[in-house]
């Protein structure tokens, strides 16, 4: 039996009060609930405050480049399908620098989970607007207010009929742990966008701000109903639904469509020289 203590306790480089702590806690809870031993899990991150998360629990970890969590995460899964692969990074990392990979991952539907710590700000570089920063919010780099409209990752994912789309809140740890566990169980690409207060740089989207707006989806919400999902996803302003917004059980995971994919790890395979000799014959 796996217990939460198997995932350890580590000192972090986060600010006291940061929403990241709760997400870390939820992640450990989810992994424990899934009954996964640390070596069965691989966390993949980019660069940012959120992206340090994989250092703060015991597991396999690939802490790559800013914006580039998803490409290695997908490749790791394809190279070793037995691993539970979770990409974990910030909003800047996932939707800014890594925006193109986000779109591709939605299209590809490899069986991994993306947990995006969405603090609506660039934390580590000290508070510039991120893709999810609300239009008009002032920062040092945007002293006249962020001029671009915010990116709604959940709505875009629903539009693209992604595998699994959920939104959580760092202020709701158990709810979030359930979401992460369900996302991991889903056989395809899962997005869990998590509202995460950044106490140092985001003075607009604070705990109080989120608490006032966040609403758990009603039990009646049917995540397989695309129209309902889209309606929930498009809500902004005064009500921000959290929960499983959309689930596309009809979509096949990428792996199922790849005939060269055998489901076994690529590591340690011996080159098949007999087959290669046949291949070479075709050039004669």
């Amino acid at each position: 039996m796996v217990g939460i203590e198997d995932y350890g306790e580590f000192e972090t480089a986060w600010c006291p009060g940061c929403g990241n702590f709760s997400i870390l806690k939820a992640m450990k809870k989810a992994l424990t609930a899934l009954g996964l031993a640390p070596h069965q899990v691989c966390l993949v991150s980019g660069i940012g405050q959120a992206a340090k998360a994989p250092h703060y629990l015991r597991c396999n970890a690939f802490n790559g480049l800013h914006g580039r969590a998803l490409p290695p995460a997908q490749a790791i899964k394809l190279a070793n399908p037995g691993l539970t692969v979770i990409a974990e990074s910030g909003d800047g990392c996932s939707y800014g620098e890594g925006g193109n990979h986000f779109l591709a991952a939605l299209r590809r539907n490899v069986d991994i989970t993306l947990v995006a710590h969405d603090n609506q700000i660039y934390g580590l570089t000290k508070g510039q607007a991120s893709p999810t920063t609300l239009q008009g919010m002032k920062t040092k780099a945007q002293p006249f207010g962020a001029p671009s409209a915010p990116f709604n990752p959940v709505a875009v994912a629903v539009t693209m009929k992604a595998g699994f789309v959920a939104r959580g809140f760092a202020g709701e740890i158990d709810h979030l742990a359930d979401l992460i566990a369900e996302a991991v169980r889903f056989p395809g690409f899962s997005l869990v966008d998590v509202f995460q207060p950044c106490v140092s740089f985001n003075k607009l989207n604070t705990y109080a701000w989120y608490k006032e707006r966040v609403r758990k989806l009603e039990a009646a919400h049917d995540p397989t109903d695309w129209n309902a999902a889209m309606t929930a996803a498009m809500q902004d302003g005064e009500t921000l639904p959290i929960g499983v917004i959309w689930k596309n059980a009809k979509r096949k995971a990428f792996e199922e469509l790849l005939p060269t994919f055998t489901g076994t790890p690529l590591a340690g395979r011996v080159p098949d020289h007999a087959a290669l000799r046949e291949v070479m014959e075709s050039y004669v």
């Binding site: 069965q40 802490n63 580039r68 290695p72 394809l78 190279a79 779109l103 790890p265």
Partner: protein, 562 residues
Amino acid sequence: MSDVTICIGGEAGQGLVTVGSLITKALVRAGYEINVQQDYLSRIRGGHNTYRLRFGPEPVRCPREAVDVLVCLAKETFGLFKERLSDRAVVVAGDDAAIEWPRAFRVPFRDLAGKPIFENTVALGVLASAICLDIALLEELLRETFGRKGGEVVDQNIAVLRRAFAWKEQQGELFACPAPPEAGRGRMAVSGNEAIALGALAAGCNFVSFYPMTPATSVPLTIIAHAQKMGVVVEQAEDEIAAVNMAVGASYAGARAMTATSGGGFALMVEGISLAGMLEQPLVVVLAMRPGPATGLPTRTEQGDLNLALYAGHGEFPRAILAPGTAGQCFALTHRAFCQAEQWQSPVFVLTDQYQADCYTALPPFDLAGLPTASGPLLAPDDPGTYERFAWNEESGVSPRAVPGLSPALVVVDSDEHTPDGHITEDLDVRVRMQDKRARKLCGLFADALPPEFYGDETPGMLLACWGSTRGAAFEAVDRLRADGLSAAALHFGQVYPLNPAHFLPLFEKAGRVVIVEGNQGGQFAALVQRESGFRITDMVLRYDGLPFTPEYILAGLRALS
């Protein structure tokens, strides 16, 4: 000369590559040695492209400038090549073409073809007869090629082929065919890129992520064609950044990973290459060069990205760069790239270029039995509980590389500076020690560096130093110089980094004059040699017009030097 150069000119989309490949395959089956130069425009239809094929009973290492058999499928072809026709040349053209040449076959394409789509088959038949090729070889190839489209297509094609062949036979011999070769069947016709793909497969490459880019694309396409049989996961990524980061990720997870690209795509991979350096992940990158800057001439050849390969990646970390000069070396050095990448846990580049990528050669199937086995990652560390991915190693700098998920060992890697367990650190003493550990691997790569290949007079009056695809032209230039009674040699670098001066400095110092021959404007290899060995290079023959070197070009360049 005992060899013949055929040049087939036509518009893109007119099927000249089909004609060219069929003749190529037939010549290989007939036992000839071949060399193919493909010049094409960056478009799909129209424009003027050429397929140049040099063949003979003896090895042919490179293209040459003169044309012996010119097949004009387009109106412009004759005008573009008439200056290059050799004294004995014959021309094949339509009966309506306005060409002035004493030895020409004016082919009634329409009549012989019946339908326009068979005109290429007519060209094939006439050409086959002109070079004294056994028609049976072509019939066999048509059967193989069109077999899938059904018997009727095959029959029609063969009928046209025979008609054209017969028509040509009636015209008589205008061309002195080369002696028939001795070599028998069983050899492959492979391009440089196909050989790279086969080399990768031989090394056990089982993960390829790429984004299409000429002239690299045929490497992944070749692997894709055999992916199912060979068990390779191939993914066309959303961009080159994804491609390289996927390859690094797959490598981390234990796959034998490769990506392939060209200049602009490689430029986008620069950050990811630095990542591979920091994570100490084996990674093979095929860089197929074409002329830059920027989009440049996307379908032509150049050796202009050596400097970029040398220094790609911010910060400092070890790497090796291999630069094959033949299809055989494309195979062998790609295989070696995987072995070196695995052994030294570093990125290794295979540098090729458009000329070599598209150049077909006749070769026996590669010898797999003789290949060393690339080592692999550690599947089951002895003491998984204490496993550390970047365990200190004061000798080689290499730490045992476990992979995640296959044992209880946790494998942690980080693009930040890290402690031996892979976790982020800002301890500056650890930083220095880790950077020294990584740097130590360069000593290993240096010790493993392949010596260059020497060819020619032992104490040459003139030594041509070259790298990558320039080998063939340089070697043949040496042959011609020596045939003219001069003392000459060539030195071909199949590995351009790390360079061990002990491998070449004595040879340079012995030579009367050292001339670097390379396909760029800046003399990048010359600068590298100067930097690494202190040897001052004063003479260079450079080419950067998008075309491959020929012996004639080198000889003219040498004349211009003196």
